[in-house]
């Protein structure tokens, strides 16, 4: 459509001044949405009319404003009115929610702290019992370790003694005297090692029954047909060092009272062997 022709037709002025028919008004309103230049022409005339009216205005009687505002007084919504309205409607629930809001977190915190305390107490008991158990286990382990260490020490000593005994047994100066079991005690056996240089005597009780309590085996050297005390056999690993015997034709072992006897109890002889 020819918008300029429409704008120039006088319809806009007619519309603004309230003289357009409802059909004309509806058409103009529709065209304003479609054509920005028509809308602009409308606004231009409105602005011109307004500016003209404002500059050539005559003030109404001064008391009129007061009269108008007095009659509208109850209808104004002031900031104070709004606040008062809101407070009056909101105050009761606000207070209620405040009480609940102030209490709920502290109640919750109290409950939570009690629960945590109980949990903490339970944990303390649990950890203390664990601690005690672990301490006991630790002490048992320390004891076991000490025992093992002691046993190890004993074994080391024993093995050292064995080593030393072996060294002595294989010494070329060492004379070996085998002592088999005598008649009736054939299962028994012991060996004498006799250092030909120092004349020291060592005994190896290969196979002898465990002596009864208060009894001890005693070694005898037969010198010129007579038994000479060569010492009692104590609990020793490997070779047991006995007394120094300068000369002997035979060695024998009898079971005597603890500490040994002056003369051998021949009935209790276990093993015997000739030198050479």
């Amino acid at each position: 459509m020819n918008t300029q022709e429409y704008i120039q037709s006088g319809i806009i002025e007619s519309y603004v001044l309230g003289m357009a028919s409802s059909a004309e008004a509806a058409e103009l309103e529709q065209l304003c949405l479609q054509y920005p230049e028509i809308k602009q022409a409308l606004t231009d005339f409105e602005s011109a009319l307004e500016a003209n009216a404002l500059t050539k205005a005559i003030a109404p009687p001064p008391q009129l404003k007061q009269q108008i505002f007095a009659s509208l007084k109850s209808e104004f919504v002031t900031v104070e009115n709004k606040v008062a309205e809101k407070v009056s409607t909101l105050t009761p629930p606000l207070q209620e929610t405040n009480v609940v809001k102030m209490n709920q977190p502290s109640r919750f915190l109290a409950a939570a702290s009690i629960i945590l305390l109980v949990i903490s107490g339970g944990m303390n008991i649990y950890f203390y019992s664990k601690f005690k158990e672990t301490t006991q286990q630790y002490q048992a382990l320390v004891l076991e370790k000490n025992t093992l260490q002691a046993n190890n020490q004993i074994m080391q000593t024993k093995s050292l003694d064995m080593f030393n005994s072996m060294q002595m047994m294989t010494d070329p100066n060492m004379q070996k005297v085998s002592m088999p079991g005598i008649a009736g005690k054939e299962s028994n056996y012991a060996t004498v090692f006799w250092d030909m240089k120092s004349k020291d005597v060592y005994i190896l009780p290969n196979k002898l029954p465990q002596p009864a309590v208060g009894k001890q085996y005693q070694l005898w050297a037969i010198v010129d047909g007579k038994p000479v005390d060569a010492g009692v056999i104590s609990d020793c690993a490997g070779l047991c060092k006995m007394k120094n015997i300068p000369a002997a034709s035979m060695f024998a072992i009898t079971l005597e009272k603890s500490g040994g006897s002056e003369t051998p109890t021949l009935s209790e002889m276990y093993v015997a062997g000739k030198v050479g």
Partner: protein, 180 residues
């Protein structure tokens, strides 16, 4: 004192829709003169114009929600309320009697140059005064007295199409005169 607070039209409309007293006070201070002048050009009597203006501002305040900014400016909307209210006032029987009495008293005492404001000197009527007589009468009847074009056609015994054409031409000329 000059108005310190200045509102944009959209701010003003928003605040008015919230029934804000300060905004309404601003609206009154800003537009009461323009609207009063318009009412006065139609009513011609200051007291009746003041009464009409009061009625108009109360209507504006109470009906602000019916204003549609898409259709036009706030002043245009208010002007139409004022014009309709003013025309209603002139059609009121009581008012017509008072008017007649006034005219009579004016005639008797010859009030020329008195405090009475001659409505021909103010507002739109002053611009209308610059139009040719055959256009001026149409604006007078259509705008100031609120007759429909059909009514004018019958009153003046002129074809409706001619009324329409002349009225539009008159309005275009009026537009020019306003802008000057």
């Amino acid at each position: 004192m000059e108005q310190v607070i200045q509102y944009s039209e959209s701010e003003l409309i928003l605040l008015l829709s919230q029934r804000n007293e300060a905004a309404f006070s601003y609206l009154y201070d800003h537009y009461s003169g323009a609207l009063y002048t318009n009412i006065l050009t139609i009513v011609g009597d200051q007291e009746a114009a003041a009464d009409t203006l009061q009625e108009v501002f109360i209507k504006i305040f109470r009906q602000i929600d019916s204003y549609d900014s898409v259709k036009g400016r706030l002043y245009t909307w208010m002007l139409n309320i004022a014009r309709n209210a003013a025309i209603d006032t002139t059609r009121n029987k009581g008012f017509q009697k008072t008017k007649q009495n006034q005219e009579l008293s004016e005639n008797v005492y010859d009030f020329a140059g008195s405090a009475e404001i001659k409505s021909d000197d103010i507002g739109l009527r002053k611009a209308v005064h610059g139009l040719r007589p055959e256009w001026r009468v149409l604006i007078e009847l259509a705008y100031f007295e609120g007759y429909t074009q059909d009514e004018i056609s019958k009153m003046l015994d002129i074809p409706l199409g001619t009324v329409k054409t002349r009225l539009r031409a008159a309005l275009k000329e009026l537009h020019k005169l306003i802008k000057e």
